[in-house]
Amino acid sequence: MVKRAAPKPRRRPAATPHQHEAGRCLGILRELSDFIDDELPNDICLQIRRHLGDCPHCEEFVASLRQTVSLCRGNPAPALSANERALMREKILNAARSR
């Protein structure tokens, strides 16, 4: 039986530190809200996913932007009591009559 050589691990490009002012990362930054809202054409999404695979900084940045949007969506707002609703209605109708 021929022993098959273990497959070589896929080489991920080294995450070299880079300046995020650099064109590619800034280009990605512009598209990120549309990306996380799933509003980009497939080919652009693919380009962004490839970039994220190569750039841990941008990947982390996207994750933090997603978390931010999720927190905004889940942020509760206080509600009015029945008394407050009734009192405001009276004030509005009084103001409508008086002006």
Partner: protein, 187 residues
């Protein structure tokens, strides 16, 4: 007229109060804004043509009233947000410095400190960016509906929304909340 107003009020007062509270950040100012909104709606009821949903019409009235109230207070002039200012300059700025890993947004937001940080960040947004963020990400309107409310193109809405999200992200990232600082609080 009175019956129609009562129906309008009953069906939408909670929605408008939630929106007003998110815009104003405090209860009394939110109540003033709701009153102003429904007063204007009462007066303009006959001019409402039904082209948009009633809620969209009310959101638009509330948004205009909010901008008017702000101008009366003569606050600092609104500033524009540029994309370049949101590029992180050091490694620590790429992720959120807040304890959200492994938690749903609802669980994470039980943390009072996180809730306060989020609300403070949203509150610091220039008004025109804040309105777009609140309408799109908190009131769950589509970009097209936000455009109708604010009299903007969909493209302009998306541009403002993106800057607003980046602003809030940066604020949460910069607050330096310590890891493991997420004891739930139900207050």
């Amino acid at each position: 007229m009175r019956d129609r107003f009562d129906t309008l009020y009953k069906d939408h007062v909670d929605l408008m109060y939630r929106y007003a509270n998110r815009l104003c950040g405090e209860a009394e100012a939110a109540k003033d804004l709701v009153q102003e909104t429904f007063l204007n709606a009462y007066r303009g009821f006959n001019r409402f043509r039904g082209d948009a949903q009633v809620s969209t019409w009310l959101y638009a009235i509330a948004s205009r009233a909010c901008l008017r109230m702000r101008r009366k207070r003569k606050g600092a002039p609104e500033r524009e947000l540029s994309l370049e200012e949101f590029i992180p300059s050091s490694e620590g700025e790429f992720h959120l410095q807040i304890p959200v890993e492994g938690l749903s947004p609802e669980e994470a937001l039980q943390n009072k400190e996180l809730r306060q940080a989020l609300n403070a960040a949203i509150d610091k947004l220039p008004k025109k960016y804040k309105m777009v963020l609140v309408l799109r990400d908190m009131e769950d309107l589509s970009a097209k509906e936000v455009g109708t409310v604010m009299g903007l193109s969909e493209r302009a809405v998306k541009s403002r929304l993106h800057r607003a999200r980046l602003f809030v992200r940066r604020e949460l990232s910069a607050r330096g909340h310590a890891e493991g600082n997420h004891e739930p609080d139900h207050g």
